[in-house]
Amino acid sequence: MSRNPLTAVAISGIGNSGFYPRGTSPDPDFRLVLKALFAACEDAGINPKEIDGLASYCGPVTDPRRIACALGLKELRYASLQWASGGGGTSAAFANAASAIIAGLADVVAVVRSVKMDVGARYGQFGGAYGGGSVETVSGYGFRGADKAPYGVLSSATTLSFQANRLVEDAGVPRSAFSAVSRASYHHAQQNPDALMNGRPLSAERYEESRWIAEPYKLYDCCLENDGAIAAILVSAERAKNLKTKPVHLLAAGETMSFRADSGAFNWPDLCSGAFRDLAPRLYRQAGIGPQDVDVVQVYENFVPGVVMALEEFGFCTYENAGEVLTFENLIAQGGKLPLNTSGGNLAEAYVLGMGHVVEGVRQIRGSSSNQVQDANIVLATAGPLTPMTSALILGSGDVL
C-alpha cells in the first residue's frame, strides 16, 4: 500500500445532472454543471463550499473561475485541464485531481464535465460552416485538416473508421463481437433508471438492420447524443473514512500518447489500436494486478470496434478469440465472466465524455450499481479508445489495498 501513492486518495462523491436527449435539457450548460457538483457533494456529505480544486478535460469546458465565483469558494487552490481530445482525458483528469491532493495542492477536488448540444446540432455534422456560400479553407493535418476534409473525411465516425476496418479485415475480428458489446450496453440500460435508453432494448436483429454510418460502423456502434453533466469528488483517503460513502480508491491512473500517434494522414505504426498498448501494462504494474483480477470493465464507447481494441490491449481477449470471448452472455453483469459497461455506457446510459464509466466503476465497488456484479472490488475504466491521447484508471475497494 505504501508503495502506491495513489491509494492515499479516494473518490467519495458522485453525481449527475440528469440526462436529456440532445438539445432538450431545460437547463443551460452551466446549471447542468452546478447540479452535478451539488449531487456529488450531497452524495459525499461535503459542503460544496469546501471544494478547493477543479479538474476537467477536453476543452473548451466550463471555466473553473466561473464555478468558483458561483459557489462562493473561499479560495480555489487548483484548476487543471487535460489536453486529450474527445473523451480521451477522463481518467487523466482523475489522475490530475489525485495528484493535486497527494502533493498537498488542494484537499477537495471535483472532476466535472458536461455535454450540452445546441438544438438541431449533431455530432459530426457541419452546420453552415462549409458550403454555406463563402469559401471555407483548411490547413494543417489535425481533425478535419487539409489532409482529410477535402476528401470528405469530416466526422469523427469517418475519421476513426479506417482503423476499425483493419480490425475486421486484417485482424479478423468478427462483427458478432461488435453486436455483443452494443447489446450488452443496451441490456444494462434496461435496469438503470437514469439511462436514456431505458425502455428501449436492442435486439440482435435491430443491431444488424441498423443503417451504416461509415463502414464498419453501424448506427448502434456509435455513442449517444445528449445533454448532461457528471461530477465526482476526490479527497484524501483519511478524510474519506469520515464521509457518508464507502471510499473507492485509485489503484492506478495515467494517460498516454504513443509514437507519432497524432501525425498527419494516420502515419503512426500501429493504426489498428485503441491507443492503450503502452498504458495498459503500466497501469497493471502500478496497481500490482493483472487482467484476471479485474471484476468489472468500463470501456469508453465512442465507436464499438474501439472497445474491442481496448479489451485486447488490456489483456481480456486476443484478436483471434475475440469472437468467442465477446459474446452477449459473457459481457452482461448477470452471470457474464467479463461484465462490461454495466450502466449502459456511452451507447445507452448517456454520453458525458466518459465520466459515466468512472462513476459506474465507483457504484460497482460501493455495491450500488443497478447491474451489480457480486463482490466487485476492482474496476478498470478507460477513456477514449482510438483518440491520439487516451487515459485509463483502475479503481479498488479498501479491501484490496
Partner: protein
Amino acid sequence: MTTSETYLPDVLPVPLPMDDGMDKPHWDGLNAEKLIVQRCGHCHTWIWGPEHVCYNCLAWDPDWVETEPKGRIYAWTRVHTPGMDALKPVTPYICVIVELPQAGNIRLIGNLLGPGTQDVKIGEEVVGQFEHHSKGGYDYTLLQWRKA
C-alpha cells in the same frame, strides 16, 4: 457515384498550406502534378505529415523530394453518413489511406475513384490521379487514387 468532374462535389473546404508556409512545397507540387513529400537529408527518414524537424534524428528542415504517386491501400472506409448534407447525394463514397512502399511506407489520404459501392481491400495496388479544382479564387489539386 458523382457525375461531376471531381469525385466529390465542390462543396468541401479548400486545402491551403499552413500559415507558416512549412508545407507549401507539397501543395505547389500537387498543382504541378507532382507528389512532393518530406525526407530527412541527414538520416533519410521519410516523413509525413510534414514536420519542421525530422522526428527521427531531429535535424532541421527535412528535404522536399518527389516520389511516384503509386502505392497500396493500407486502410479504407465507405462513408454512408458524411456529416454534411451537400454530400448526401453522392453516398456512399470511399476514402482510402494509401501507403507508399517506395517512400518509406508513408501514408496519404484520398478517395478511391470509381463507384462508391465497389469492392475494396487492404493491400490493393493503386495509382494516383491529380484532380484539379478552382474555387473562390483558389487553384488547388487533390491526389486521388484508382485501382492499378
